[in-house]
Subunit: 368 residues, 4 copies
């Protein structure tokens, strides 16, 4: 991508016949904004993408944006490279389970969330229901086979807060950045609930952003100003699917947990100590990371300054650090690193997941 409105790489893959527009099921990408409330690179990318798909599919952009989840995380701090992963789905589910499982994918979009429910239990329930719908769509029966659930939630902007107030409702916070954090927390609780990682009784308004021992090991939640409903993408392995792609994940204990990164690649048959070889690098199709500046102000006992910095948002700091770490291991800077990992992976840590080709020869790299 030369800029957030540049879809020429996808246009080319469509022209070549590598990507069939009708098979596009979801997009996960990183754009180069600030990742905050006033990051409009996500809206710009989405508008450009939907206009392109609309031209190819003859379906209005308005309808497409509601049907195809497009989950973007703004902020390519440090070495991170703006890119997007186009997830396609061809053919029908296998009638009989295959001997080995292959990458499976399902999506769902929740109803529109009013601003007053954002970051509260109603938000958790909305996400949980949508995750279960997406699992069903993916033909994944057991929650154990789910390796990554990407959720995109709306947040509360000044304008939406004013609108809610005008309706006589109160929003949980009028601080835009805090609303994004609460929305991510609600999304993580929703995933954990849907996957059976937590019990329903721990889900309360008060637990969000407070009970950090409650978390999902497979949730990745973003929040942004440009959407009004939750968008869900479930990724896992299933014997009802075929193909050479597989997915794996690992929780990261903290921001220095390079061991989790190496172990996750090992799960996919890839050696990454210290770095994935150039040959195996071609097998990597997508790498997803969620991370979070440690709330307690230190990493392994030493003070960090991310939370007290008035100049650079803390999420920008941590994305840059984890981007540097993981890109060092993969040797490729096209990593989806998303900050705001509240309740997503261990407290102070996060999650890493990757999709790789398990056949020998690699194949097409993801569009970028």
């Amino acid at each position: 991508m030369a800029h957030p409105g540049d879809l020429s790489a996808l246009e080319r893959l469509i022209a070549e016949g590598t990507v069939r527009p009708a098979e596009i099921a979801a997009i996960i990408g990183k754009t180069e904004g600030n990742g905050g409330v006033n990051d409009f690179t996500r809206g710009y990318f989405t508008q450009s993408l939907m206009a392109l798909l609309s031209r190819h599919l003859g379906e209005p952009a308005d309808a497409l944006v509601k049907r195809i989840p497009c989950v973007l995380s703004g902020g390519t701090e440090g070495v991170l490279s703006p890119h997007y992963v186009v997830l396609c789905k061809a053919g029908a589910p296998l009638d009989a389970p295959a001997p080995t499982a292959a990458l499976a994918l399902g999506t769902a979009v929740s109803p529109i969330l009013p601003a007053e429910t954002i970051g509260r239990v109603a938000h958790v329930d909305s996400v949980a229901a949508a995750v279960q719908a997406a699992m069903k769509a993916a033909h994944i029966d057991s929650a154990d086979d789910v390796h990554f659930v990407q959720v995109k939630c709306p947040c509360i902007t000044s304008a939406r807060a004013e609108a809610a107030k005008a309706r006589g409702r109160t929003v949980v916070t009028s601080d835009a950045n805090r609303s994004m954090a609460l929305a991510r927390a609600a999304g993580a609780f929703g995933v954990a609930l849907a996957l059976g990682e937590i019990c329903p009784d721990v889900v309360t308004d008060a637990a969000l952003l407070t009970e950090f021992k409650v978390y999902s090991n497979r949730a990745s939640v973003s929040s942004g100003v440009e959407i009004e409903a939750n968008e869900i993408i479930v990724l896992g392995n299933s014997r009802r699917w075929s193909g050479s792609l597989r997915i794996a994940h690992r929780p990261m204990a903290d921001a220095l947990d390079i061991g989790a990164v190496v172990d996750m690649f090992s799960d996919l048959g890839i050696n990454a100590a210290p770095q994935v070889s150039e040959m195996q690098r071609a097998l990597l199709k997508a790498v997803f990371v969620k991370c979070e500046p440690d709330r307690r102000g230190n990493v392994r006992g030493f003070r960090h300054t991310m939370l007290d910095d008035t100049d650079i948002n803390a999420q920008r700091h941590i994305r840059g650090a984890l981007g540097g770490l993981v890109a060092g291991v993969t040797g490729d800077s096209r990593i989806f690193v998303s900050g705001g990992a509240e309740h997503q992976g261990p407290d102070g840590g996060g999650i890493i997941a990757a999709i790789a080709d398990s056949s020998r020869d690699g194949g097409q790299p993801c569009a970028s």
Copy 2:
């Protein structure tokens, strides 16, 4: 350090008798400012440090600041932790060379540089002369035994540029950030010249920030508003020194060169694939990294956004990324990562160096 003026850790080590103030030869540290022209955390730290040493040594702070190089790099992006390394020197050089070499240290301070010489050949020569003086002071005979040369150069602020103009002189640039880059380039050329890494004929005003094939593999240069002369610290191994500390270095080919990091630790007898063990971590005394956002706008073929970002200075981006990578390998976020590696290590890459204890039991960690 709780803040840039907090020297309580050193105060404690002095009170305990671990550090003897008279033996302090140099300080290298990271403070939590923005690392740019308006980063006053370095001046604040220096003022606090010199006041402390003045109390202990009975020598005026003004004299100390000229005698003891205090090289600070502002900016603790991402996981980086504010900290400082206190380099002490006890006893006299050995009369006869020992069988094995040990960490050797020498310092020098150049005369004050007028603003109009900053970032030009006169600046290169000033640094080269000071590096040779520091090598001599370190009792290092061969340039091959030098592993790390830290230089701190003055830069051109608006005020200094105006003052030069009033004297009828022109400064090389009136852009403060560019002046810092040119000063770093001049410092790197100076080190490379002193160590015989380059020939004198490549040293021209025009080559600075232009001929990126010219570089030193051992120079680490910072530039800041708070000083007016070049401060030099030469670190190497010498058989005229005793003790259990050793230093090693490696050039980094690019911002993803985790292999260089692992190899450098291997030179010191430390296994770091993927991460230094908790036991060996205690042997690490200091880690120094210089790095630079690739000028050509991409890392291994994929676009990065560091150079085109109006919100976050490019040096802040790269420090955060390399800090994440190296701290992931060491498991410790007290890394001196300094941006602005023009002509310091391969173009688009940089340098890593570390000091470690080669005895078994480790010992005191560095003050922080």
Copy 3:
């Protein structure tokens, strides 16, 4: 505007019949990005606007974007409100000059500028030719009747610099922010040349960003990553036009020159000491300001910190300050304040211009 892709206000004015799409001649607006190289709010707005106009006019967006200048300045620091002014042109020029002059408008777009010409004399000439074409289109015979010339120039991004290099050409600078400054300087020289404010012999590559005594009192130049050709909008008063709108301008001597603001309004028959009354405020149709952080580092003898700030770009600083000043005088925060006034107005100062209704009752406010 609720966000940079929100054209609903214009959509509504078109639906009501207040604005006829075929009469839209130019747009000048402020979007809420950072105003720097990585400000994509301008591209997002333009894409959204052209899609809207394309739907109404049945003309491809690609053609529209080349025909209708859309000059956006990113950055709504402080009280500034994102908004856009839609300049429409109805009917034909009067055959015989009317007794009084009315607002006149002409536009032009230059050929595409290769990156290696940006910020050099070739760039100046390209702008000057386009300004003269726009004056002709506006039916303004005398340069004295021109009050405001808005120019939007392309700049040099990392990618464009690499492309030029691949063609064997050198660009004037590889620093993106500096390229924007040089482009603005070239634009200002071009306007000054076209309006006879300067002689051709002062136009040299070396004079750009150096000879600050050379300037135009009517040029307002922006530079951005999203365009490849110069876009020109000439605004003046002409007896070949009818209507109740008039335009006036004044140079501002420095960033505190509130007198110039008040005098400019006085030229339009509006009393603004200290603030335009609520009744007269409805007569204001557009206010344009160009300004610049004083290069010499002080304002009326007192040091400012805009140029040495690594956290906030200097242009963002000055836009916020002038926005606060002028909005205080008008009582309305919809001010087009654009930084980067090199050679636009007196050194260290800038330009203010405004369009007002000279009839009593005011009329429609501009879209926002």
Copy 4:
């Protein structure tokens, strides 16, 4: 001030005999940091100032810092110039009231505030008691004669929050920026309570940052990481004082209320429509402004973007805008503009106050 540690101007005034160190009662200044939690320019200035005064007075810096309030606001956005106002007090209070009142000054410092009380009712009460002590010290009997109360409050940093937690206490928020806002709110309530502007029954934890109809027209509260107790400076006019200085204040209804600025100067006999004349400018000794980005996201009906900006803190935005406005009126950029005006002046607006010489000839300008 050339930088935050530069006290040479004061040193010079002391050397000349213009300022007698023993008469220094308080300092109010602006330093050039970011004004946020990680702004260390305030600590740096204070350390430098107290070292200077300690040299002159022979009193330890530790004692001076507790005795002489030094209230600094970080952030010189836009045209604002770093400067400090040194308030001196000579002689004894008059036995009999003079015919006209003159500037009166009193200071107080509260006991150290534990982190768990910050931003709560206990904090309000602590401030109110200290304000009454300072009024008494100033020999001002009636609250009506108080025109400006500057309060500096501690805030909650990550470290302090952890320390409170270790003591088994909870802090009101773990978000550092929010803690600064709550501390400012508590300070404003404290002033309003002490001056009888509000009744005790409106003072509750819940009202802070919620009931914005509760405010003081004379409170100016800053909050910073570098102090642990409330520091109070009361300024007013009193017939027990002599001298030619007078103080006045006005509430500002919103960020565009230039009328309040002009009226306040009129109270001091200074004509400022549109700008204070050069002659009268010499009479101005200090200008203080408190301001706040409108919480509701718009100014006079038009959207501003300050609260949704992830790149620039909202307080930095508003300081830049008001600095531009007020410096435009005074013609001098040495304005104390402090953001964070929660409950200080009308909601969405703020306060302006100034000290001027009421004699003809002006006299010494304030140190800078």
